[in-house]
Symmetry: C2
Subunit: 345 residues, 2 copies
């Protein structure tokens, strides 16, 4: 039942308004260079015809799209949500449109998505973390698309980035845990492969053990994708492998929420019997019972600053722009001192 009325083009508008295509184009892009009367006439025709510029054509002719792409590992949990929202808001205020796609933590899919976004004319890209095949960076450079790395910050990388030091932040949390008296530490980490943030957080814990005279090899580590259910399962396995664990440090709040929940259904009181920590400080950290001691990541600030940086890079293609933010401990109630150990070893 489609009428299939052909989609109006610049030409149609030009005819309707009895001007040249150039004039119509100017009405849209540089309205002040057009006489008021003409402008009005053209605008009326545009509305009458319901004209929308064809983006492909526009990109091709003008070579910029006012579009920024972001590829995040997942939309399934709120880890990137807040930051992305802020990112979009800030971009929007500068006239840019954000297009998002998710790689499901799959490097190949990520490459695909990058190519899709680039060939669709993204003026710039926001990517999470550094860790990816170098050829991707080359490709992006060749295509002349600036990239900004977010959610991570390291001095040793040359990509411009905005984020925080995952390793140091987790280190601080681990030190705090150890200072409280814990020495039997279990870890539920995200999958480290292809995820530098997860890897760094893990290293942060190891660093802390070393600095405290403990042996990182004693760490019980379970690696599992970020998901509440996996957090639950991992807790079971951890307690099975080593029931003497007094604290479980989790790679993020999602895992921690799962672990916390399972600990309770196992009849453990948190933090009296077992302490649990998270990372990220997403919304649920505050509402689980007990509330989660975690590392607060300044999501919104990161998103906003990322947008500002990118806009800057786009304006004056110089701008180095790496920026480190602070992620501080957020002390709540899921972490306490270790329980008094049974004496019969």
């Amino acid at each position: 039942m489609q009428m299939d009325r052909p989609i109006p083009t610049l030409d149609d508008v030009a005819k309707a308004a009895k001007v040249s295509t150039a004039t119509v184009s100017r009405c849209i892009n540089l309205p002040d260079r057009v006489a008021k009367a003409t402008l009005d006439r053209v605008n009326r025709s545009i509305i009458a015809l319901g004209y929308t510029p064809n983006f492909g054509a526009r990109v091709m002719a003008a070579k910029r799209t006012m579009t920024v792409g972001a590829i995040i590992p997942t939309m399934e949990n709120a880890v990137f949500a807040k930051g992305l929202q802020a990112f979009q808001e800030e971009l929007h205020s500068h006239g840019y449109t954000l297009l998002v796609s998710s790689s499901a933590y799959d490097p190949d899919l990520e490459i695909e998505q990058i190519r899709a976004l680039v060939s669709r004319g993204a003026d710039a890209l926001l990517l999470i973390g550094y860790d990816r095949d170098p050829s991707i960076y080359e490709y992006l450079k060749q295509q002349n698309v600036p990239v900004l790395i977010a959610w991570a910050f390291s001095r040793d990388q040359d990509q411009p980035s905005i984020g925080f030091d995952n390793r140091r932040s987790m280190y601080r949390l681990a030190r705090h845990v150890i200072d409280l008296g814990h020495s039997q530490i279990g870890v539920i980490s995200g999958i480290v492969k292809g995820n530098d943030r997860a890897a760094e957080r893990l290293e942060g814990i190891r660093d802390a053990l070393r600095d405290s005279g403990l042996d990182p090899r004693d760490l019980q580590i379970i690696e599992t994708p970020y998901d509440i259910r996996n957090g639950q399962d991992a807790l079971d396995r951890l307690m099975q492998v080593n029931p003497r664990i007094t604290v479980v440090m989790c790679g993020n709040d999602v895992l921690a929420a799962g672990a916390l929940n399972r600990a309770r259904t196992r009849g453990l009181t948190v933090p009296d019997d077992l302490s649990i920590t998270g990372f990220d400080d997403i919304d649920i950290a505050e509402i689980v019972t007990p509330s989660l001691t975690t590392v607060h990541v300044p999501h919104r600030e990161m998103g906003r600053k990322a947008a500002m940086t990118l806009v800057n890079i786009l304006k004056n293609s110089d701008s180095t722009g790496s920026l480190e933010l602070q992620a501080n401990l957020k002390i709540r109630n899921s972490l306490g001192v270790p329980p008094v150990q049974d004496l019969h070893d």
Copy 2:
């Protein structure tokens, strides 16, 4: 420091492989219509030059993009996340790329995003809920872009859709609540304006009251954006307005999680002192304490089926395709019988 090596084009590849541009184009799009030897040669050149097709040009010449756009009200919470993930997976398996953007529950922003996605060549669009200015549907029709509505289903709408009956689902939950003996009911609803799902859910509760001989006007309703914090605040206000409320029905799990949390910090035991219900059955519903009685929405199924339907519409532009799914009660622990009332009224 940019080398600014120009981006390779089809032409460059053609020259490098010593064939015409037509042949290169064929190698990419219809490889079987090209002699094996030529194909290999061309492919080598493509790789050597690091060529990626220019999307804009391609769209312009070919008029289809294998891209589907989705505009969701928010990425901040997990309500749409699971469904969208499934949507993307299914689309991907059919060769489509998904581009997402978020409207932040703002109708104007949504229009903007729709135009952005359309002019960027989306072959089809996924939109959440029916409720939007009719001119948008006209525009989409004129632009020849099929739309699918998700997360809602109603027989009275002519847009093809895939979802469930929000009103009936909430009705069932409300009936259950009332059957348990509750009559002093508080409601924390999402913002109803521009959100037919929120509106329908609210109506569902009213229907249930009516059918049970109660007066819907006795309902204490607080309308607030979906956000954990708002759920917390709303609970406070509700208890202040009418402390005799025995159950709080929430428009979704996010609000419910907030309400639950606040109820506990107020010293109320859930569900002995106060019952709380949610809607959606997102991950947190299971891990909050006590776990949330809610309405289970088949997120993944909805996402997958939405993708399948859309792909179908794109193939044979007929396909009506509306599909209703079931959203069933998920009984957990946050809902119980009302406490015995004090006798001194």
